[in-house]
Amino acid sequence: MSDSSFSRRKLLQAGVAGATSRFALPMLSGLAALGHAQAATASDYKALVCIFLNGGNDHWNTVVPHDDANYASYARIRSGTPNPTGSGNYKGIALLRDKLLPLEPAWNSPDQAGRRFALNPALPQIQKLFNDKWASIVLNVGPLNQITTQAQYRNGINLPDSLYSHNDQAALAQSIVGTEGARSGWGGRVQDQFPSNPLGCIAVGGGGLFLSGANTAFSFGIGADSAPSLPAMPAAVAACYRALMTEAGHSHMMLKDYSQVGRRAFDNIANIRAQVSNGSQMVPSEWFPSANLGEDANPLAKKLRMVARLIAANHNSPGRQVFYVSMGGFDSHDHLVTTHPKLLGWLDSAVREFATALSMVGAAGKVSGFTASDFGRTLWSNGDGSDHGWGAHHFVFSGDPGFRGGHLTGIAPDISNWDRNSAAGKGRLIPTTSLEQMAMPLARWFGVTSPSELAAVFPNAGQFNPNQIQLFN
């Protein structure tokens, strides 16, 4: 617990059932060594967690402008007036100011020029994490080929490929180097810099591009609820099954790919099962109460519970792991004010439960996480939702003592005088911070520090000020 600012007392206040007794369990440190004996250059353990919000999170209703001038503009643009035509049931999509959860930044960068922000009312736990310096926010971040002005945008000068397209922008957010068809993600390329650990990149509940390296790293996929297990079969049948699934002699590319996945499954199943088993003893289900609500269970909490278990099983041995989890439903063309808070509420409780669990097992100081999404959205409403945008605000979480929590970093957009032609139109932000600029501090924290390694992970980083975003001391 000494590795974090998250005090034991606060944990107990957070209402973690059974926390005291579970915390007293001895750590099963010997078993954890199974996972990453190969991580030769790592002298300690660190884990990086990507939380991907599928569909393009409406950042305007997540991190809301809160100073007088900007809130007034936000409310003017998003609220509209009662529907003069009398049809439909238009209500506007702005959040009421007095319901918002104000952020109290530990430090205001000069870039923010006094602008203030508040969180969606569905994010009380993240507000608390922010104010307790466990969370920071990167403002207006997105894919860029270069720092881009509005004039350059309008003239199509060196823009990222296929802006506003879901699959392309989701791929770009994960790879930073390419749209649909990108072959590696930055999480995988970060892990490439370490000697290969077959379980160094784990996608819980689907996904993979973010975790696929350009070299050795690959995404290992497992489900959220339990470890993979082999189907029960008589011995001779099981041996045949294994031989079929792991056959190395195929020449057809799809047979090769299928068998490669099969080999990974068989090669690592004992290891991953041991990790999940040990981790499940250390991180009991009740530490993630929102994951235990049956039909209404929080899907992200289930996935982060599995991540917490794997971290718990591994963090006492040196090594590096990158995780990917995702949650869908963020493409809020409609019903923004009813569906979005539910999704954010899941994010809120899942992150809080995750942070608490990591603290309970003493791993919080070794873990950083961040949110990412396809793109931001328009500030202008399309009736009861918003459309595809570009720049967005995102969260970074860490329990590392060196983490600069409680910060609003990046450049706060000034929307106080916006009309529908401002920025990229209809209230789309032109990013002022590139994906690289947000990712590089995380990569450096993870241990990718040499210029050559960083260049391998972020080939276009030279276009941007590498120190614009400071996430760690």
Binding site: F218, L230, L244, M245, H252, A265
Partner: protein, 595 residues
């Protein structure tokens, strides 16, 4: 497969001819494309089967449906014998086309099953998706019209709607109506399909055309761009300009040139303003269908107050101001339908779903040419297009692409094939022939991008290293491959006949299956002998029916050794051996990759 082209063979009956759009609405490129096709070279070949091997016919049946039936007595529509009886692959396709009108519709069936009314104490889950899930499962497993169901499944994965994004009530009726319009148009014309999809409440809800309104400065709202964007990106023209051979046009920097801009999206979004549910019409409303779900089975209607009547410029063509909302939509759909990209873009995806993930350019161009002109001057004739996909000489692998040709079978296809091949049965009522516990049923995709995207390849894998794609691998990972095996194992070994909830095959059916087959194929096995004593024979005919292409001798030997190691003393032992054989064959990657 050696299909000879026969230019004298008449083409299939043409779909209804749609009026040619006004030339003023067409781009120069579209006009050029219309002039391009040469019908004589694009007529689908006859594909006589006299000289074809059983393997080649079985491969065709796997691409056109759900594999080759092993039954000789009934359900023989998919059997190799049926194809031989009809004399050509063409004739089999024509005969399959002819079954389409006799297939039941979803809405009618669901209403008959009481999914259309809500009332206290109703036993039907009218709120949820069980109705449409059951209907789709049952139709795919039991219908004779295998081609139609494979093609509808294909369209449902391109023009995606999903219950995941639907309102929380009447999902089965809403999506059932969408199924019905896919069925109505699957062998019709692509242009009519575009209209029906556009005006359908299911799509209206899913991609938010329903209720979208013109820019309203008082309200501060903009038209919803969702349908406009995805209609172009996913349903018609795609992101990149394609040249006359279907290849992306490269710009000055070597980057592909976009086929539309964000301004085009905004213009098209304005076209799609002013549509609402038809809550007025009551004509034809079945007594057992409530008003609300009935409105979900009618095309959306105009709400003039919400439409943007201004002029719009879409892809360089101006749609003049003052047209009716319907005229606006039809003109926009004409532009997209006539766009030179559309034939290539659709052709490639249909090939990817039925035949191979990486069609060579000539294959795509051949199908696109038929899309442009079915030989009788009709553009978008889907019968001709399906035929072009399935009868092409490129639909079997050539020496040049032996190591890349084919596609990973969707898991749903393997489940349906299993159920059809072995005549799975199940109890009664709601769960009759229902595939349960499977989360990739039609109309359940997590987004309009379907379960897997056309451009996906397993990162770091062999396909990716070659710059090729394998979309269905998006659903493959280390845990999923083991789970898939476990799911299939549960299906195959399920023996609880008392539990009528689940699909299963009865042991007596296994005996009968093998016995029936034996008379025709394994005729040297004397009646009443232990059919699993010669497991290799059973392997070979299962191999033929499941995939056509023989598995490697290594795999065959491996599987047979495992099967033969099992006890063989009783009738139950034989069933167990047969089930094990089925399982090992159907989890083998050599089966899962359709080649």
């Amino acid at each position: 497969m050696n299909i000879t082209s026969n230019p004298t063979q008449p083409v299939a009956a043409a779909a209804p001819v749609k009026p040619t759009p006004a030339a003023s609405l067409m781009t120069a490129a579209a006009l050029a494309a219309m002039a391009a096709p040469a019908a004589a070279t694009t007529t689908p070949p006859l594909a006589p089967v006299a000289g074809m091997s059983d393997v080649a016919i079985a491969r065709f049946l796997g691409q056109a449906g759900f594999g080759a039936s092993v039954f000789d007595d009934a359900w023989d529509e998919q059997s190799i014998a049926k194809v031989r009886e009809l004399g050509s692959l063409d004739a089999w396709l024509d005969w399959q086309f002819s079954l389409q009108p006799t297939e039941p519709g979803a809405v009618q069936t669901l209403v008959e099953r009481d999914y259309g009314k809500s009332y206290p104490g109703s036993t039907r889950n009218w709120r949820y998706t069980v109705g449409i899930d059951w209907f789709m499962s049952k139709q795919m497993i039991t219908s004779r019209a295998a081609l139609m169901h494979r093609c509808i499944y294909t369209l449902s994965q391109i023009m995606v709607v999903s219950t995941e994004g639907a309102p929380t009530t009447w999902q089965s009726i809403l999506v059932g109506h969408y199924y019905d319009l896919l069925k109505r148009n699957v062998f019709g014309n692509f242009r009519a399909l575009l209209s029906d999809v556009t005006f359908s409440p299911a799509m209206g809800y899913y991609l938010n055309m329903l209720g979208s309104r013109a820019t309203d400065t008082a309200l501060g709202t903009e038209p919803d761009e969702n349908y406009a964007r995805e209609l172009m990106q996913l349903f018609t023209i795609g992101l990149y300009q394609l040249d006359s051979l279907g290849r992306p046009v490269l710009g000055a920097q070597g980057a592909p040139v976009k086929s539309y801009t964000n301004d085009d999206v905004a213009a098209l979004a304005r076209v799609f303003t002013g549509w609402k549910l038809d809550t007025v019409t009551k004509t034809g409303k079945p007594a057992d269908l409530d008003d609300k779900p009935f409105s979900m089975t009618l095309p959306m209607v105009v709400d003039t107050r919400l439409h943007d009547y201004g002029a719009k410029t879409l892809l360089g063509t101006t749609i003049p101001a003052g047209l009716t909302p319907r005229q606006d939509v039809e003109k926009a759909l004409d532009i997209l339908f006539q766009h030179p990209n559309t034939p290539f873009f659709i052709a490639r995806q249909l090939i990817q779903k039925l035949v191979t993930s990486n069609p060579i350019p000539a294959y795509v161009a051949e199908v696109a040419a038929v899309f442009r002109n079915n030989g009788q001057g009709v553009r978008g004739d889907m019968r001709a297009v399906w035929k072009a996909v399935l009868l092409s000489r490129y639909a079997s692998r050539a020496a040049t692409d032996t190591d890349s040709f084919g596609k990973l079978r969707e898991e749903l296809i393997t489940i349906v094939q299993w159920a059809k091949t072995f005549r799975a049965t199940v109890g009664v009522g709601d769960r009759e022939y229902m595939i349960v516990g499977f989360d990739m049923l039609p109309f359940h995709a997590p987004s309009v991008f379907n379960f897997y995207r056309p451009g996906f390849a397993l990162p770091g894998g062999a396909a990716a290293q070659r710059g090729l794609v394998a979309p269905e691998f998006q659903a493959v990972n280390e845990q999923a491959v083991l789970n898939n095996t476990r799911y299939l194992q549960e299906l195959i070994f399920r023996t609880n006949l008392a539990n009528q909830k689940y699909l299963l095959i009865k042991p007596e059916w296994i005996h009968k299956t093998v016995a029936n087959r034996k008379r025709r194929i394994i005729d040297d096995l004397a009646s009443g002998t232990n059919y699993m004593a010669n497991a290799g024979r059973v392997f070979d005919w299962l191999n033929l029916s499941l995939m056509g292409e023989p598995m490697s001798s290594t795999t065959r030997t491996r599987i047979l050794n495992a099967v033969n190691s099992l006890p063989d003393g009783s009738s139950g032992d034989r069933v167990n051996r047969f089930r094990t054989l089925m399982l090992l064959m159907m989890v083998a990657p050599e089966y899962l990759v359709q080649r």
